[in-house]
């Protein structure tokens, strides 16, 4: 598929009532926004600071409204096509799919979402184009959940995308598009083989996981305790931070109100507070340790893959200059 056809495809999606959302460059920053045409898309491979998280797990949503005894849960979701989802963000979607497996709000949104991944081929594995042709699919794409994927060879950046599908929905959409637009239907299907590679769990992850428990007393956390300002910015940009809080909010109209769900952060003092005022996480060291423990021990224990996609966004936004790779290095070598 070339750029012209991609433009046609985006137009066609819009005609099918999809809101098309993708990375676009604004004032030198890559932001993920609703776009109207393909020329706005930025496929330079530069990582957008904010991930696609908010389109699947919104920063705030109303779970239900009540009026006297009458509850109304709003499960309608608009049709959206997320285009240009990086490998990092696709890995985060794997986690949401597990965590929110039984969440009707997430599922409603996911059902109405078309996920179109995109990546420059050598970006993640330093494979040459030729090697990519044999290995790309099985090493990476097979272990991600998407509908369509646009593979972009660095050498051919300007012209061609190699198209993969990862779901029946993706195949259906492309077949329909081919039928209606005259595009010579040319794509390869990749069957999802689960989140974990055939060789088993990531050895790097296992190593960190082994070293983590019981390390609260070590210098690592005491050092971070003296640096972290608990702004929580890392948790907001982190594509895998999904923790939320629930609030019941009455309205000014008599007998009416709503329950809301919004993002929360384990760096905030009330996050671990329970009735009676007890806090499970009492200080900065405990909070930051908990953040790492969740990503590198608890999530691997539950799902067998890391709770960190390795995008480095947390390091980019940290005003205190805390770098996740340095922290992980000191955990491994402790």
């Amino acid at each position: 598929m070339d750029k012209k056809q991609l433009q046609k495809f985006i137009q066609w999606l819009q005609e099918k009532n999809y809101i098309v959302i993708g990375p676009t460059k604004e004032d030198g920053q890559i932001l993920i926004k609703t776009i109207s045409e393909s020329s706005q898309l930025d496929f330079s491979g530069q990582l957008p600071l904010y991930s696609f998280k908010k389109y699947l797990v919104p920063s705030r949503e109303i779970l239900f409204k009540y009026k006297k005894d009458d509850f109304k849960a709003d499960l309608t979701a608009f049709k959206q096509a997320l285009i240009g989802v990086s490998i990092f963000d696709l890995k985060a979607i794997l986690l949401y799919n597990q965590v929110f497996e039984k969440d009707p709000y997430y599922q409603a949104r996911l059902n109405n979402t078309l996920i179109i991944g995109q990546s420059q081929i050598p970006q993640f594995q330093n494979l040459s184009f030729k090697v990519w042709e044999d290995k790309y699919e099985e090493d990476i794409l097979e272990h991600l959940q998407f509908d369509i994927f646009l593979g972009q060879a660095k050498e051919k950046k300007s012209s061609e995308f190699k198209i993969f599908t990862g779901s029946k929905k993706g195949q259906q959409i492309l077949n329909d598009f081919a039928k209606q637009s005259g595009w010579k239907s040319d794509f390869e299907h990749v069957e999802y083989a689960g989140p974990i590679k055939e060789e088993g769990a990531n050895p790097e992850m296992m190593k960190i996981k082994e070293k983590m428990p019981g390390s609260l007393e070590t210098d690592i956390w005491q050092n971070l305790d003296q640096r972290c300002i608990e702004c929580g910015k890392c948790t907001i940009v982190c594509p895998t931070c999904f923790c939320f809080s629930l609030t019941d909010q009455p309205c000014l109209n008599k007998d009416e109100g709503m329950r809301k769900r919004c993002w929360d952060s384990c760096f905030y003092s009330e996050f671990s507070e329970i009735t009676g005022g007890h806090k499970f996480l009492k200080n900065t060291a405990e909070r930051i340790y908990n953040w790492y423990y969740h990503k590198f021990v608890r999530i691997p224990d539950e799902y067998n893959f890391p709770g960190c996609v390795g995008c480095g966004r947390c390091s980019m936004v940290c005003p205190a200059g805390i770098k996740i790779h340095e922290v992980l290095e000191s955990i491994k070598t402790k």
Partner: protein
């Protein structure tokens, strides 16, 4: 089946009586109530506002279920009003930065206020010139709605909660939470002395939206990591004088110093 029928408010009758009063202030907080827009209809429908001198003259000496009070105690008269209102009210709410944390008038606490007063008034004979303190230093305050000005939506939410007999609380999240969710530029990372990370959020990061640093008009979080923020400021070369000026703007320098000592 969970019964979610709101209980009749514990604060009194179905339509609570309300007073909205100013001490020495710019009236900006009360203007926010008047400017509630569509929400104002709901407020007026559900509350019996019996005393609101800013919009209606005449006093109706009575008891109040809820009283809102803005401003600072600058005169003996102010103190009398505050103490009387405390006696008259079941639930007393301090509204705005002046009432909650001292606010802009508190700047003079950090200066030679005898000298200042002479610069401002021709005759200082009858001018009282006390230290400025948050209202909770004078009487028991049941709830604080901070901000300069306070956030309209927050005011409406708090009133709605009180009406179902729920004591409202403002989540202990910093301004950074709202700033980052809205994808505004981080000014602290740009080297500016932004106080957002230690300041109680709920303002929707309006200052950051306009590219202004947070000056803590809503006061600090209950246990902020101020010691670590200072390290960043120092690294960025912020002088003690500039930091003090910033903290004095809304009168939080004393609180900040207390936190650093704790």
């Amino acid at each position: 089946m969970i019964n979610i029928n709101p209980k009749p408010t514990r604060l009194g009758r179905e339509k609570p009586t309300v007073a909205i009063i100013s001490l020495t202030a710019c009236n900006g907080c009360l203007m926010e109530i008047i400017n509630l827009g569509q929400l104002l209809k709901g407020v007026v429908d559900r509350l019996q506002i019996t005393e609101f001198p800013l919009v209606r003259s005449g006093k109706s000496p009575t008891k109040f279920d809820i009283a809102f009070i803005e401003g600072s105690v600058v005169t003996k008269e102010n103190l009398k009003t505050l103490e009387q209102l405390r006696k008259q009210s079941k639930f007393l709410i301090a509204i705005g930065a002046c009432a909650c944390i001292g606010g802009i008038p508190e700047i003079k606490n950090y200066r030679d206020r005898e000298k200042l007063i002479k610069q401002i008034y021709k005759s200082t004979k009858n001018i009282e010139n006390p230290l400025i303190k948050p209202l909770k230093e004078y009487v028991k305050i049941d709830l604080e709605i901070p901000g300069c000005p306070p956030n309209k939506k927050e005011i409406a939410k708090i009133i709605a909660s009180l009406l179902v007999g729920k004591i409202p609380c403002i989540p202990q999240r910093p301004v950074c939470y709202e700033c980052q969710i809205r994808e505004y530029n981080c000014l602290l990372q740009k080297g500016l002395p932004c106080l957002g990370s230690i300041t109680l959020g709920g303002c929707q990061a309006v200052c950051l939206k306009s590219g202004e640093i947070c000056s803590a008009c809503r006061g600090f979080l209950s246990k902020p990591a101020a010691k670590n923020l200072i390290k960043i400021f120092k690294k960025q070369g912020l002088s003690d004088q500039d930091l003090n000026n910033l903290l004095e703007k809304f009168g939080v320098r004393d609180e900040f110093e207390k936190i650093l000592k704790s």
